[in-house]
Symmetry: C2
Subunit: 235 residues, 2 copies
């Protein structure tokens, strides 16, 4: 079965967590909205999709199923491609961690959009600065400290044990993104999270991920995505 | 089996979506942290829990399982108590909707905390006003408009069809909360979402929910929770 991924064509955004899972799994998929016709199809599905329209991209078409919400898509893919534990307890644990990553992603987005997603960054520079300060002082240590402790508990392997899950792929993306958006702050912070950095490096060197990252399927970071490099926020 | 719910004892917060599901199901549960000893137990579990500590309350103990993240808990309870469709497609659809509710809840929280959860409201009154304005102008119509269309599509019954799911209980709570926090704004807005208001009323009149709401197990709304009544934000 060829999956169809529907996501905004010019950013990594939330779609990237799905792309990384599909790529690691070596799954056959089309990144539909990267063509003009595909983009039109995405907007149509968002409108109706037979009474079950997704609220927002990304969504994944898997045969007749259309699955929305990033963590929900990963829950589905995880079971089918060996990217999550098989037993119920492990499956719920991985999903719980992914939902925590999702919360963190929203807070990352809010560093440049504290007054809400409907205004431009340029209209909220000053609150963005304030929020970013709090974010690095309180929230990054809280979230990344949590994940760092989990990696150590597992002896420096993957987050939930000796086998890679979609959560590891997502944490790779978090490290990549924070490095892009906040190069100065992240450089200083990284010393305190050696386990996560090591995890990041091991994910990056997996054959399928390595191939993906150097392909043109990987969109470059940019200032329309979730991780944005604004100099004023990285002081 | 007697469930144990762990959540902050003095607010509805995110725990309330779980409480509503447990109550509707007539499940046997203890709201553990509402005693002093229980509160201490919650803090201990947050620390270690045998290597799988939840990032934050709420979490639910079900036998040996400890499940964190509100939507994840509902995913688990939904299957066991007939509060979600049985088939995979329906289960994923309900979960997708719940994750959209979760995104909305975070945006509701950010109306009074646009600069982040680590500062007091009193330190961010002015950005809170601005964010709340945007919230009501752009975000409430987007989210509630979406759910309203879904209710209509289902002929005015429940959100996913003729049977109640945990998503309906959550939308009841959203309506209750918005009425509490923004009585003026919500009064005006409600005219545009008759389907959701009708859904709210039907949930409120279900026997188990009705009993729960008038019991002392239902904590009153207050200004430590997610829905806060600040006069300055309801103009």
């Amino acid at each position: 079965m060829r999956y169809e991924l529907y996501y905004w064509p010019s950013i990594q955004g939330r779609g990237e967590y799905v792309r990384l899972a599909l790529e690691e799994a070596g799954a056959d998929y089309a990144d539909v909205a990267r063509s003009e016709r595909g983009m039109a199809a995405m907007m149509r599905m968002k409108e109706t999709n037979n009474g079950t329209p997704p609220f927002a991209p990304p969504f994944l078409k898997a045969g007749k199923l259309v699955i929305g919400q990033t963590a929900n898509i990963l829950l589905y893919l995880g079971s089918r491609h060996g990217l999550a534990p098989k037993a119920e307890a492990g499956k719920l644990w991985a999903h719980q961690l992914q939902l925590t990553v999702a919360d963190f992603v929203l807070e990352i987005h809010d560093t440049h959009h504290p007054l809400g997603p409907s205004l431009y960054y340029e209209d909220q520079r000053s609150p963005a600065k304030k929020r970013t300060g709090e974010f690095w002082k309180e929230r990054v240590p809280k979230y990344l400290g949590y994940f760092e402790r989990l990696v150590h508990h597992n002896g420096g392997f993957y987050l939930t044990g000796r086998r890679l899950t979609y959560v590891d792929l997502s944490l790779f993306q978090i490290v990549e993104g924070l490095r892009y958006a906040f190069p100065r702050r992240m450089k200083a912070f990284e010393r305190g999270i050696p386990g996560l950095i090591d995890l990041h490096d091991r994910v990056a060197s997996r054959p399928n991920i390595k191939t993906y990252l150097s392909s043109d399927r990987r969109i470059a970071f940019n200032e329309d995505g979730i991780f944005r490099r604004y100099k004023a926020l990285d002081l």
